[in-house]
Symmetry: C2
Subunit: 296 residues, 2 copies
């Protein structure tokens, strides 16, 4: 029997915990705080985003308030560029503003936010270095499950633009983000690091974002012109606002744990029975999935 | 009026030719040879793949023969791992083999291919260096529109695993590929470079691959267990086999042209009115789309 599929297994993103992994180390997992768990319902399925208040407290506070005001419910992913980003919200400056007069009228309630592109590498920062060079940052690693860049000399740290990164869009001015968000759906656009406020990541449901209707990047940079073709944000909720037993419960592998160190080693030194040309022992921070599991 | 969307324009993948680009330099584009143009019809839309015979003549010959034998028509994308690959064909070693007795019976017609993981950097090789370091290869650049790695000292060159890369799956042995293909649909899995025969890239329709039903990576590494949930390969054809006027016609920007050099410069030095933190002047080879245009 051919094992084509099995051979490919060894190349698979280490996003899942292999059944054979033993022993299970409960201390190497942390539960996602329902106050940081955003649930975005699309017509394809539910997307779960974990927010990182330690990276951008003002933006986290804002998105929670927007969700609780039901601002996003019924708006859409109005700009979706394949291989780049899915952008959701009202689409200020596009035709969609006039399709949502109520939300458009409410925009004055949401004044521009001061940028939170980076943060201090304070003593609270449990930065775990990846261990190899990176094209775009002096150093990369993880903070509590989130991919991060660090400039130790300058004492600064920031969230990276990897697939699944959740961030707020803005105008040309740094301090102009208000309500619109985007999620990276393609090859990591790392040039955006420290240029927009990234403050969360998708921990479940990326495949539903990938099903979203795309815009034509040649027309208004991907804004879907036919409003009816835009996929709606059916609703957006904070898990904390659901009755406890209705909340989806996720755990994320601690990125400062022995289990995650082992994940990285395994990826860096893959099974020699498949690899003819041993890859260099380096990792692409954005190609290394941090394991997530959903509890029943 | 807010310009959130417009601000994001500057970050958009440079996959499209901007209307403002002038002058048009016809000599900087080449037409895709219909003998190298594979059309994969899915229920979501048509995917166009350009083959690169100069990288893997035996594999190109094989896939053309398979297409002409209608081998793939009615088979499926039986293993789809979000953020990694969409794998199509008969799924040897999986339940799908028994669902396709005719194709399974024909497998003996398609003996294992000798690997073509890399090629010589012969004098015919128009390798255009990207111009900066890379984590996984001594040097990266483009050959005729395809992302490539090069080891000049060893005189070797190979196609990179970037989003859209088309390759053949194999067993553990190097020379075991027969009929199954995969297409990269997520962050570039560069560790696969030189370990599988990559010999084409999607030039149109990535968004349709992204809509494919996903498998659960925890179950048989992403093989979709319910055969009815698998998205079919409705048919796969070579453009050369269509009547001339029915062939879609694509042009690819020459990667050794002045226009492409300008694309790279623009991406490396993005608009300063948006970027607060100037990104380092480097490019991720797999994040740099080579422009493609479809002729009417």
């Amino acid at each position: 029997m051919k094992k084509t599929a099995l051979a490919l297994a060894m190349m698979c993103a280490a996003a899942v915990v292999r059944a054979a992994d033993a022993p299970e180390r409960p201390q190497d997992w942390r539960s996602v705080d329902p106050n940081n768990l955003v649930l975005i319902d699309t017509r394809y399925g539910q997307v779960a985003v974990e927010l990182a208040p330690e990276f951008a407290p003002r933006h986290v506070e804002r998105v929670r308030a927007l969700i609780r005001a039901h601002f996003y419910d019924g708006l859409s992913f109005y700009r979706v560029v394949d291989g780049f980003v899915a952008q959701g919200g009202i689409g200020e400056g596009t035709a969609s503003t006039k399709d949502h007069p109520k939300e458009a009228a409410s925009l004055s309630q949401w004044p521009p936010l001061k940028a939170e592109f980076e943060r201090s590498t304070g003593s609270d920062a449990a930065f775990t270095p990846l261990g190899n060079a990176d094209l775009f940052a002096p150093e990369v690693g993880h903070v509590d499950g989130f991919p991060a860049g660090r400039d130790a000399k300058a004492g600064r740290m920031w969230m990276l633009h990897c697939p699944g990164t959740f961030a707020f869009a803005r105008d040309n001015g740094a301090d102009t983000a208000t309500t619109e968000f985007y999620i990276v759906i393609g090859q990591a656009p790392r040039r955006l690091d420290r240029n927009l406020t990234a403050f969360g990541r998708v921990i479940d449901g990326m495949q539903y974002l990938q099903k979203l209707e795309r815009g034509d990047p040649k027309v208004e940079i991907g804004v879907i012109q036919d409003v009816k073709r835009r996929d709606p944000i059916l609703r957006m909720r904070l898990a904390a606002d659901l009755p406890e037993k209705e909340r989806p419960k996720f755990q994320v592998m601690r990125t400062d744990s022995a289990s995650f160190a082992k994940e990285k080693e395994t990826r860096k030194n893959p099974a020699p029975d498949f690899y003819v040309h041993t890859p260099p022992p380096v990792l692409d921070i954005c190609g290394l999935a941090v394991p997530v599991r959903r509890l029943p």
